[in-house]
C-alpha cells in the first residue's frame, strides 16, 4: 500500500481537506493508500518514509527525494483534475 504524506502550515486545516479529497478519489479508483498529515516543517524529516508528499502551500527542499506535488488546485478547483492525475500517477 502506497503511503502519502499530506502537509500544510499546521497539519490540521487545509491538509485535512486535501487528504480527504485524495482518499475519496483513490477509493473511487480502487487504489489502496495510507494517508498521514503533518506540518510543512515536519516534511523534511518524515518524507523518506512515504511514497508521495502532497502540500497545500509552497514547499521546496532539495534534501527531500520523495516526489512532491503541490495541491492548491484541490482547494481552488482550478485545474483540479490535472492535479489529481499527477497524484494518482504516483499512486497507481
Amino acid at each position: 500500500m502506497k503511503k502519502v504524506l499530506v502537509a500544510c502550515g499546521n497539519g490540521i486545516a487545509t491538509s485535512t481537506v486535501v487528504a480527504s479529497k485524495i482518499k475519496e478519489r483513490c477509493e473511487k479508483e480502487g487504489i489502496a493508500i495510507h494517508v498521514t498529515q503533518c506540518k510543512v516543517l515536519e516534511v523534511a524529516s518524515k518524507a523518506a518514509d512515504f511514497d508521495l508528499v502532497v502540500t497545500s502551500g509552497k514547499f521546496k527542499d532539495d534534501s527531500v527525494s520523495t516526489p512532491i506535488v503541490g495541491a492548491i488546485a484541490l482547494l481552488t478547483g482550478i485545474n483540479e483534475e490535472a492535479t489529481f492525475e499527477k497524484i494518482l500517477g504516483y499512486l497507481r
Binding site: 499546521n10 487545509t14 481537506v17 502551500g57 492548491i72 484541490l74 482547494l75 481552488t76 482550478i78
Partner: protein, 153 residues
C-alpha cells in the same frame, strides 16, 4: 461534529479601504468579542499569514481563509469578511505573490483534524464562483449570511 458558531453579526461588510492586518484585526475582534477566540488569536493569525499565507488565487474573485492553531480558539466559529475594496493577501501556493482578495473566510477551529465537513464546505463554496460573486456583490448582511449558512451549515 460539534457545532460551528456563526450568525449574522459574523458577516462583516467592509466598505473602507483597510490593509491586510486591519482586515484581519477587525474580523478577529468580532470573534473575540463573542468569546469564541482568545487574546492570542489575532497575533497568531498574523504570524501564520506571514509564514503560511492563505490567499487562494481563483482566476476570478480571490478568497483568503486565515486560520491558526487550535490553542488560540475557545469555540469553533467563523467570521466572513466581504471587502468592497480588495485587500492584498499573499498566495498560499506562491507566498511571494500578492493577490487582491475580496472574500475572507476566517476559521476558528477547535478540533485537531476536526470540522472537516465545514472545511470541505468552505472549499466547495470557494470553488463555486457564482455564489462567491453573489456574496461579494451584495451589501445586505442578512442576505450574505443566509447564502453562506446554506452552504456551510
Amino acid at each position: 461534529m460539534d457545532s460551528i458558531h456563526f450568525d449574522e453579526t459574523q458577516v462583516l461588510i467592509i466598505d473602507e479601504k483597510l490593509n491586510h492586518d486591519e482586515v484581519l484585526k477587525k474580523m478577529a475582534d468580532q470573534l473575540q468579542v463573542k468569546g469564541y477566540v482568545k487574546d492570542s488569536y489575532y497575533p497568531a493569525i498574523i504570524e501564520r499569514e506571514k509564514n503560511y499565507p492563505t490567499g487562494l488565487f481563483t482566476e476570478a474573485i480571490n478568497v483568503a481563509i486565515p486560520h491558526c492553531d487550535i490553542a488560540n480558539v475557545n469555540q469553533g466559529s467563523i467570521c466572513v469578511g466581504v471587502l468592497k475594496q480588495p485587500t492584498q493577501f499573499a498566495r498560499m501556493d506562491e507566498p511571494d505573490v500578492m493577490i487582491d482578495v475580496q472574500l475572507v473566510v476566517m476559521l476558528a477551529l477547535t478540533l485537531p483534524h476536526g470540522h472537516i465537513e465545514m472545511l470541505q464546505k468552505v472549499v466547495a463554496l470557494i470553488q463555486n464562483q457564482d455564489v462567491v460573486k453573489s456574496i461579494v456583490h451584495s451589501s445586505n448582511q442578512k442576505e450574505i449570511y443566509e447564502t453562506i449558512k446554506k452552504y456551510l451549515l
